[in-house]
Amino acid sequence: MRPSVLLLCAFAALCLCHFVALPLCGSIVLTDVTKKTGITFIHTDGSSGQHYIVESVASGLALFDYDGDGDVDIYFLNGAPLKGTKSGKAPKNELYRNEGNWKFTNVTDQAGVGDTGFALGVAAGDYDNDGDQDIYVNNYGPNVLYRNNGDGTFTDVTAQAGVANGNKVGAAVLFFDMDSDGDLDLFVANYLDFTYENHLMRTSKGIPKYAGPMDFPPMSNNLFRNNGDGTFTDVSIESGVGKHKGWGMGGVCADYDNDGDTDVYVANDAYANFLFQNDGTGKFEEVGLITGLAYDLHGDEQGSMGVDCGDYNNDGLLDFYQTSYAQELATLYKNLGNGIFEDVTMATGAGAGMFPYVTWGCGLVDFDNDGDRDIFVVCGHLEDNVELYDTTGETFNRNILLMNTGNGKFVDVSDKSGDGMKPKHRGRGTGFDDLDNDGDVDVVILNSRDAPTILRNDTPHENHWLQVQLRGVKTNRDGVGARVKVTASDLVQIDEVHSGRGYQSHYGTRLHFGLGKRNRVDRIEVRWVGGAIDVYQNIAVDQLVVLTEGTSKTTRR
């Protein structure tokens, strides 16, 4: 009797899975492999109990292949001792070379990228089009541009490039070609006008806490035009970017209106977000309000933190996903295609589980290769002691994973997605890429005042995939800003190459497309910055293809 009951239950479960919850059957599994990686980085925010606001917003990270060996390396940003902090050895940013098989080696010193400034934002981009990715670090204090020498080392070329950008509190860094001239320009977001002199500390119920962004004056952002000779010119004013002051944090560049040039989205903390619409020549108009991206559905500004871009519903339009402060929902803005975005957070469930948490790094990533983008959000309170005055908040939080059901909705699967979703930290920046080149996307998270978290994607390999790496020839070398359209039978997906995204971080230079059960890609269309199009047909799946501008041929790695 008993076995048949069990069988019946199993059958019922199978039926339920098949007919009711079909989209959820392929579960995502993320495994915490931090300890086996050999990564010893510990983030510091330079705090000394004074609660300087810059401590609370550090830091981002970059995932990129610095040595061109075909695997993705990790660059962690670090804070620096602030006034009053007693510190022996100066903390610095750390670069870890991916050795394969989940082993990483600290190559910071030999690479020469161990800046000891108070680092907040970063992007990697080949600004000199010499075939390797350079690094720009946005600090509290002077910024740093490291030119990649192509031999595993970098040179600090900040002064000669003219991009130190004063002594500001930095935020996102975005490389993009604003004027389609073939080289990468540089957008440098700024957070606020903080100095030791205007510092203030707040208290709540007598407990010390950080002041809010509005306690400090806002700042405009900076835009540097690449002169093509290793130097940059500050064009913040003439470009139109500099006349808008805000409290910039994360950002991402994207051709949201599909007009062939790259626009800039800047998430502002407790203020209307900016969307700088490019006229194609590097002149910008701020259109956040009229596009519906400045505020949430209710017309309220959010404590916006990070922002990512992707086509969550495969309708051929780039959507935005933005994280925010506690008591707010992280927001999914659906691109309606007519220059307007709609906040569909509540309608899609894209904010599920996030209301009590401060949310930071985020990604629209297809973790299970089923052909639609899931959502990963890093959580962790801004304060380091919130429980002392508000027990509805928690200082340390676990992260959240929402699975795209394929019908325009998201379901919170954080509880069912492996041990990697269990640890609680004060997460900040995050990045997503295929660290072990096994065809699925892994996760790296920078945790404030803590070791990072490295999550290996152990989702069963039931689906096909394709990775695309672009090689610009006339346009910038990595194809930043190029749009890629992948057609596999009934599934059509788009993506763009971004340099700088999420919460003040960089990741995803090579594009990743989940294909579900489709075992052939019919067509890849690449629209390079400036409008030239290459089409590639009949491509095998489960591989990385390198597409070189003007060849319309695939090159297998």
Partner: protein
């Protein structure tokens, strides 16, 4: 009754705080220039309140009110778990406390536990189906979970209960917007703005709807209006943030505990203890009018009219533009035969609220009682009736006509008063008097 008061107090105090902050944004220094209050001082205040709440629990062992007060104290100090424990004990003792379920719903929302919030609000509404605001809050939780149809049903109920709830109309607009019923969304945003012309979020909703409908000119116009209102609001917000003083806020929060305790003692007839606690509340937050209102009510109950008047005068210092407090000053001055003070107060009421009948009516009543300016009293009473056709105004008009020797008009006015409020003995008495005279 006092159960509901807790929530009302919080709302009222918040309103008072906002008024107070807004009025003094630019004449204060930033907290950066003030020494920070010590954690110990605030801890001391917290201890004091917890001791008071403990005292209430001992003093009123069978009353859930003391448990509610204890829960409120913990909540004010950010300990949600402890607050919840006492509120749950309170509803276990008296399951008919809609207000406690409502506040538990609010706490659940704050914790992002929307399903639980829905349950709590539904419990509150099962007890008190016309609890103002509860349907809106329920709808808000439902909307976050994407349950739009249920949210809209709740909002329709809220609008029936509170037809002047701009928030309910706004949320209904949001629900229709998400359902892509743009015309209906527009109607509801417009209704919200009709009630509250400064409702900036509703303008944002209108801009969104117009953009969706392809009316870019109107979308732009509403966006501009929204931007303007938002810029003003942010200016105020920044001022409030600069003004914010944690210790002062903690004192204000502590005052609420003393008000709640004072009310409990007052209801128990222990007026001296109630007075002591309410005075402490007033000392902790000298800008919270509720303490003074409660003290006024207490003194009035004891027949101490001078003290009652004094409290109303203090209220008028805090909210000088509020016509109701000047009406009260006039009424109690009149009872104390302080005619000059009464006349001055009623004239102030007319100046502050010229479209409301109260000032005209009470000034007419004053002249009639004094037996002076009778013709002017009649004109004032006529004005009151013109503004609002209610029994009280007809009564004073009748009296004014009568004292001016116009018994015919006195008779018709008192008939209207009696028709509108048939059980009022004062009106009936005048009616009979005029009939006899006729």
């Amino acid at each position: 009754m006092w159960a509901l008061a807790g929530v009302v107090i919080v709302c009222a105090a918040t309103a008072v705080l906002i008024v107070t902050f807004q009025s003094s944004i630019f004449n204060s220094t930033s907290p950066a220039h003030k020494p920070l209050r010590t954690e110990q001082e605030i801890a001391g205040l917290k201890k004091e309140q917890l001791q008071l709440a403990e005292e209430l629990i001992k003093e009123f062992p069978g009353s859930e009110d003391s448990l509610v007060v204890m829960g409120n104290v913990w909540n004010r100090y950010g300990d949600a778990a402890a607050a919840l424990k006492f509120w749950q004990k309170a509803v276990a003792m008296n399951p008919n406390r809609a207000d406690v379920y409502e506040i538990m719903g609010w706490l659940a929302i704050k914790k992002g536990q929307f399903e639980d919030a829905i349950v709590q609000y539904q419990k509150a509404l099962a007890i008190q189906p016309r609890l103002p605001g509860a349907h809106s809050n329920l709808a808000h939780a439902l909307m976050i979970l994407g349950r739009l149809d249920e949210a809209m049903e709740a909002l329709e109920k809220e609008i029936q209960i509170s037809p002047n709830s701009s928030f309910a109309y706004f949320l209904l607009g949001q629900a229709y917007l998400q359902q892509k019923e743009y015309e209906k969304a527009k109607e509801n945003y417009e209704a919200a703005i009709k009630i509250d012309p400064g409702y900036e979020n509703a303008y944002y909703g209108l801009a969104t709807v117009c953009a969706q409908l392809g009316d870019s000119d109107m979308a732009k116009a509403y966006s501009e209006k929204f931007k303007k209102l938002r810029a003003e609001e942010r200016k105020d917000l920044r001022g409030r943030k600069l003004q914010y003083d944690d210790f002062v806020e903690t004192q204000k929060s502590a005052a609420l505990t003393y008000i709640e305790a004072g009310r409990m003692y007052r209801d128990d007839g222990k007026l001296q203890k109630a007075e002591e606690l309410l005075k402490r509340a007033a000392g902790l937050d000298p800008e919270n009018i509720i303490s003074f209102q409660e003290l006024a009510s207490l003194y009035q109950k004891q027949g101490q009219l001078s003290k009652t008047l004094e409290m109303h005068k203090k209220i008028s210092e805090i909210v000088p533009d509020n016509p109701i407090c000047h009406t009260n000053i006039g009424i109690f001055s009149l009872q104390l035969k302080q005619y000059d003070g009464a006349e001055q107060a009623f004239r102030k009421v007319i100046a502050l609220a010229p479209k409301r009948p109260e000032g005209y009516r009470e000034l007419a009543r004053l002249y009639l009682e004094m037996g002076t300016k009778l013709q002017q009293a009649r004109q004032l009473a006529e004005k009151a009736v013109e503004l609002e056709q209610v029994a009280a105004n007809y009564f004073v008009l009748s009296l004014a006509c009568y004292k001016n020797g116009d018994t015919a008009n006195a008779s018709s006015a008192i008939k209207r008063a009696v028709d509108l409020e048939p059980g009022n003995p004062e009106y009936l008495h005048l009616y009979e008097l005029i009939q006899v005279r006729n």
